[in-house]
Subunit: 224 residues, 2 copies
């Protein structure tokens, strides 16, 4: 390896922390949903333990970003990288919150008789896959992969609507399933939001790499 | 007024843009809920029009923040102000998204017979009040006001739970109300998220002013 600037090492370290935070969030989602699928509340403790780690990383990463900006006064690409890191950090922290919400709803749900879960298992796969790939795209600066993540958000929305419809039908035919059906629908919403955060991250990656804002295709950036 | 540095004028301009964006978001929430309260879909167009403005401001503000960091290489307080502006910008954009979601759900809802709205009107007051005060706190660097906003989030959660319970009871006694009841619950969730964004903004204000991270009281920042 050739000699690297100290700043580059700092950026590598920051990237590694964000990826670690991302892996923790992926595990949190998996285990939060395992609570309902395996009907085992033991997984809640794991989710809570990881949440503390995610919250610690959230604070650390913000501090590291600000310190690097203040010390190295980066321009252009490096500055966009650090701004993206600040935003991705916020998104990941909220993915962790969604996992905690899912685990809490799941805890109530498994005290009641079983209920169908619609497309929840597939929604987990899609959302976690999007999150994983958005972070890979960030790590490698891969714009094509980031764009692919953005497209997959439609699939998650479709699965959510399907789950909604299936559960509403069930609730209409069986009033005793209303409370539980609501809980499943709220979990589907949480997963949809995880996919939204992955989409935000992917959009930040595109901005970071090409310096172009693709977040609002209809809005023209200001002419200055 | 004494002579100000050019940088201070730029910061004032940035602050003004964020406040304008905040006012637009407040209007969007009000008008999105007016669709259901007044049962008038004409308000949807206003929400959509403001959304384009919010999206434009979102892009502009990010660009201004990055440009100011690159040009002026600010340290300490100014850098925290700019980092807070980047984060507040993202939160406001998502408040706008929540308003659009509410307006869309409301459009379906008003095609059906009337249904009770639980504490939705009060939830709007609390959420919009929190947002307004969070932005005032940002504008004036008022930590006490920011902390007050953070406390008020409990009130919004309480109203949401009350609305959930009321609607679930209705759905259990009247199967024909299930689809509409779900829609009201989803709108309550959207409003709860607006309050969450206001809370995030208030937390960013505290960090900006006192340089202390209060977001995860249980997590100790890294010792370096």
């Amino acid at each position: 390896m050739t000699q690297k600037r100290h700043f580059d090492t700092d950026l590598d370290d920051l990237r590694a922390r964000l990826l670690r935070m991302g892996s923790l969030c992926e595990e949190m989602i998996h285990y939060a949903v395992k609570v309902i699928v395996e009907r085992d509340s033991a997984h809640v403790a794991a989710v809570q333990e990881w949440e503390s780690q995610v919250n610690r990383l959230h604070i650390e990463i913000d501090e590291v970003c600000l310190k690097l900006i203040a010390l190295h006064q980066p321009a252009a690409g490096d500055l966009r990288f650090l701004a993206a890191a600040l935003k991705i950090n916020s998104d990941l922290e909220r993915v962790g919150d969604q996992a905690v919400n899912i685990a809490e709803t799941a805890t109530y749900l498994i005290k009641e008789p079983r209920i169908k879960l619609g497309d929840i298992p597939r929604m987990v796969e899609v959302a976690v896959g999007m999150l994983k790939d958005a972070l890979d795209a960030f790590s490698r600066g891969d714009v094509e992969l980031a764009k692919d993540v953005i497209h997959r958000d439609d699939e998650e929305d479709r699965l959510k609507s399907q789950t909604f419809n299936e559960l509403v039908q069930l609730m209409q035919s069986d009033a005793s399933a209303i409370q539980r059906g609501m809980d499943v629908i709220l979990i589907a919403r949480n997963l949809e939001r995880v996919a939204d955060h992955a989409t935000n991250i992917a959009e930040d990656v595109v901005f970071m790499v090409v310096g172009k804002d693709i977040r609002h295709p209809g809005s023209r950036p200001p002419q200055e």
